[in-house]
Amino acid sequence: MKAEEVWRILPRRIRENLKESDLVGIQEIRLRCGQPVMLKEENRRMRLLEGQFSAAEIRETVSLLSGYSLYAFEEELKQGYLTLEGGHRVGFCGKAVMEDGKIRTLKQINALNIRIAKEQRGWGEAFLPYLLEGNRFYHTLIVSPPGCGKTTLLRDLIRCLSEKKWTVGVVDERGEIAPLRDGIPQMDVGPCTDVLEGCPKAKGMVMLLRSMGPDIIAADELGTQGDIAAVYEVLHCGVGLMATVHGHSFSDIERRLQPLMQERIFERYILLSGKKGVGTLEAVLDRNGEIISKGAD
């Protein structure tokens, strides 16, 4: 795990009370104004640090995490989160400033949730037999509640496919799959992968399709109508699709991605949960929702 990006944004007091190695095995760091710092471990246990987190420390953290450049993250701030180098995500809570019925920015930020990104090489290998058949890739949707390893699995599947010489185009809207630094992905996504970062998924999928000629397009967290329209465009061009979506079960996403699900667009579903820790495999399903492989009980 590359936690130095997270370590660098923590205020001085916290860095003095912790060691960088203490961040190993941590899934989330929750910083709330007037409350102790809370570290959530991967096994879902919570650890509290001594002392209260002050408003000044929140300001210091926000300043550090934006590289003293909050102006560069206006759009992210409106969405309530931003992605750090290394793909770690920071969520904000505060007071919304409204303009013409839209959120202009957040002020008086009072809570931060830092989610530490993980890279688990090799996890995706086990799924390849279900997703590939000869030269054919099955359109795949990874489904799980937040924080259960969707993005981590997607990233490793991208790497596995890329290493098998499939050209994978990645639309990384929030820089969580393969954040770029000087044009180089900071996480291993394989040698045949093209990453388009910071572009809305709907536009990015179409752009990649036209510009890079991918065999497979990968995107994180489908949800909007625009995303669904772009999925159709990808499918009409004969390109494979691999995506993730928030959800607890097959029936849960059936409601949310109605047209795609009704037409049985996706041919494989990988359901994950956090029952036995992050990334617990519930099942691999086929296009009709029939179980192909079941996770360990």
Binding site: R8, I9, E60, S63, L64, S66, G67, Y68, S69, L70, Y71, A72, F73, E74, T105
Partner: protein, 172 residues
């Protein structure tokens, strides 16, 4: 022989005094122009690329020349290190350390440090406004400086040369 040598030395040093006075102003204007160019690049980086400060200042550092370019580069490195609490602290530290190697006046330095107060603060509009404010100062300083140099440049050389001559004549 000694008298001639002494006279040449006095004349030469007084002339050098006048020339260096004019050159100081000329170099200051050149540095102000470089700073102006750098700020325009910075404005573009922020406005069109939404580049964070470290990235924006690094690009400016590569484009701007001389000491001003080095100052931008150093600021970029220190901002990327994230050791200070605010960007203002980094900006102040670098400029105060490096100002001795520049020809900027105290007034120039004050304007630059005031600009640092809003560096990275709030939104893009705020950044552009503060860049514009510093650009306006630089513009005024350049206009005044150019006029002064045009008017006084030759005067400095002439007066210093004549003063040297006067000293030589008096001593002889």
């Amino acid at each position: 022989m000694m008298r001639i040598l002494g006279s040449i030395l006095i004349l030469g040093s007084s002339l050098w005094f006048g020339i260096s006075f004019a050159l100081k102003e000329k170099y200051r204007l050149e540095e102000l122009e470089e700073l102006e160019r750098g700020l325009l690049y910075l404005q573009g980086q922020i406005q069109y690329l939404s580049a964070p400060l470290a990235e924006a200042l690094e690009s400016v550092g590569w484009k701007a020349e001389g000491q001003v370019g080095r100052i931008f580069q150093q600021t970029a490195v220190k901002i990327a290190e994230r050791q200070a609490e605010t960007a203002e602290q980094v900006w102040q530290e670098v400029w105060q350390n490096e100002a001795v190697h520049t020809f900027f006046t105290g007034e120039d330095l004050d304007a630059v440090l005031v600009f640092g107060r809003s560096l990275g603060y709030l939104d893009k509009a705020q950044q552009e406004n503060s860049i514009r404010l510093l650009l306006r100062y630089i513009d005024g300083a350049l206009t005044r400086g150019r006029k002064r140099l045009e008017k006084n440049g030759r005067l400095y050389c002439g007066v210093s040369g004549l003063s040297g001559l006067l000293i030589v004549v008096t001593l002889l």
